[in-house]
């Protein structure tokens, strides 16, 4: 355990830190500047399309957690009427298997990520809360048509020229 390199190693390290003192910091000030997330983001919410859903419950069967609960009843034209479509988004792990497996493209992952709530029971979403609105936009995960309409992602590689 000798003092090899005669102190030059410490000096080289200190040069690197000095170079960083004169570079731009890489952090973003969160509430004022927000970065655009990926077009395929598996955001913090689920969006349901009432017209396309036929009540087949493939999504409920493919959820690893069993977070989707569907109750249907028999309609007149030999189809299902969805009476209750409830997602417990506190139990959901946002893996996206339900969205991938829906054969009618009636389920979307959400685009936002700021869905914190104060009470746990507000995390359980029923039919009305799952619909599209201005505050809930769908993301392009497994839905190429929606993906084409979203803005591209901001990459750290492109921002604030931290050169080599």
């Amino acid at each position: 355990m000798k003092f090899e390199r005669y102190g030059a190693g410490i000096a080289k390290g200190m040069l690197v830190t000095l170079k960083h003192l004169f570079r731009h910091p890489v952090t973003t000030q969160y509430p004022e500047e927000r970065l655009t997330v990926s077009r395929r983001t598996r955001g913090n919410e689920l969006i349901w399309d009432r017209e396309r859903c036929t009540g087949c419950a493939t999504c409920a069967k493919s959820c690893p957690q069993g977070a989707i609960r569907i109750v249907t009843s028999r309609g007149e034209e030999n189809d299902y009427i969805v009476e209750e479509f409830r997602v417990d988004s506190g139990y959901c792990i946002f893996c996206g298997l339900c969205v991938e497996s829906c054969p009618y493209e009636a389920l979307f992952m959400g685009y936002g990520y700021e869905r914190a709530r104060y009470r746990r029971r507000e995390l359980v979403l029923n039919k009305e809360e799952l619909l599209v609105s201005e505050k809930k936009q769908p993301s392009g995960y497994a839905r190429p048509k929606v993906e084409a309409t979203l803005p591209p992602q901001t990459l750290l590689l492109d921002r604030n020229g931290v050169k080599k």
Binding site: M1, K2, F3, E4, R5, Y6, G7, I10, G13, M14, V16, T17, L18, H20, L21, R23, P25, V26, T27, Q29, V162
Partner: protein, 374 residues
């Protein structure tokens, strides 16, 4: 008033005793300076807390605190308010009197160091003619406070931290004193005011080895990286002040920053020619140099990993102590043999000797022990 007239050299007339022409004499002078020193120390300590966090942030490619007030300037105030509103916990089985006294014993000596520092020509609380000896002696008292804190907490981690603290702090006192002696020999006096007066070229050029030894020993005295194993967050949680909270913890935290301030101020006075400088007012030069030294200390903290306790001891006894002795020997020889030689030749000679000594020592000494057979 003598305070605002930098041309008047007081200490030539009244070395170390009563200052002249103050109405009311000694006590007014003392009162004014006590207020100035307290304000300076506390404000600068808070400024250093802010500055360190911002600078460490910039070294790490991020911003420091910037939410509380413009540029985060009120962050130390927020820290102070947070600490004051915390509950004061006293361990049930610890020694209560010692627990209560420990932060006080650790803090007061640090404050007393500032009594002999010259802010301007002749502007000090007391121009003692044993200035620097007083500083070294007083700053050793805070070691007792650290050990009291670790002992009275009734906690194995704290005791471990306190033991490490005492061993480290006591061993680094010796290179500290010896490197200061080099400067004293060059200046011819122990009084800090005279040392600043005697620096026609800053002593950092005449004593490069002494400067490095002093920086290393002072970093160890104030528990700064690379010697901050006393409060190593990743090892023993917080060392000797694990059990402290509330205002007592605030005093330990303040001790750390006031000690950094004290070391920066002493380095400026001893090695960087204090308040001397060409164009700007002397007080501004003083502050610039203090901030410069502090930036270097923060820079070292942001880059370098931490040493282990036996390596710290080996570094003090096997590396710094012999180098300090050799430095003193060489300085003594130079002062005796060549008192009239141009200072610049001596500068290059000293730099060359420093390089040779560092190379020699790095080759031949071993930093710390290895594995112990159990």
């Amino acid at each position: 008033m003598s305070l605002f007239d930098p041309g008047l050299n007081l200490s030539a007339y009244y070395p170390g005793t009563l200052p002249p022409e103050w109405p009311g004499g000694y006590w007014i002078h003392w009162g004014v300076f006590v207020v100035i020193i307290l304000a300076f120390v506390l404000l600068m300590a808070m400024g250093f807390i802010w500055l360190e966090r911002r600078e460490v942030g910039r070294f790490q490619a991020r911003l420091g605190p910037n939410r509380v007030g413009p540029f985060g300037v009120l962050q130390p105030v927020a820290d102070a308010i947070k600490i004051l509103t915390k509950e004061d916990i006293i361990p049930a089985k610890g020694d209560k009197l010692v627990y209560w006294l420990a932060p006080v014993v650790a803090f007061v000596p640090v404050l007393m160091v500032f009594a002999v520092v010259p802010f301007q020509d002749g502007a000090l609380l007391a121009d003692l003619n044993i200035g620097i000896l007083y500083v070294v002696a007083i700053s050793s008292v805070s070691i007792v406070g650290v050990f009291m804190a670790g002992w009275s907490s009734n906690n194995k981690y704290s005791l471990l931290g306190a033991m490490r603290a005492v061993s480290q702090l006591v061993s680094y006192e010796i290179p500290l004193g010896l490197s200061i002696l080099g400067v004293v020999v060059l200046a011819g006096s122990l009084s800090l005011n005279s040392i600043v007066e005697a620096q026609h070229i800053p002593f950092i050029l005449l004593q490069p080895l002494g400067f490095l030894i002093y920086m290393a020993a002072a970093a160890a005295e104030i528990n700064r990286t690379p010697f901050d194993l006393l409060e190593a967050d990743s090892e023993i949680v917080a060392g000797f002040h694990t059990e402290y909270s509330g205002m007592k913890f605030a005093l330990f935290y303040l001790v750390e920053y006031c000690e950094v301030l004290a070391v920066s101020v002493i380095v400026t006075t001893l090695f960087l020619a204090g308040w001397k400088g060409p164009l700007l007012p002397p007080l501004l030069w003083f502050l610039i140099k203090v901030f410069g030294v502090f930036t270097v200390i923060v820079w070292v903290r942001a880059t370098v990993p931490r040493l282990r306790v036996d390596q710290v001891m080996a570094f003090a006894w096997k590396c710094l102590l012999p180098l300090a002795l050799i430095n003193l020997l060489i300085t003594g020889i130079q002062v005796l043999v060549w008192p009239e030689v141009l200072p610049w030749a001596v500068v290059f000679l000293n730099l060359a000797i420093m390089v040779v000594l560092i190379l020699l020592w790095s080759k031949f000494f071993k930093l710390g022990g290895g594995r112990v057979e159990v």
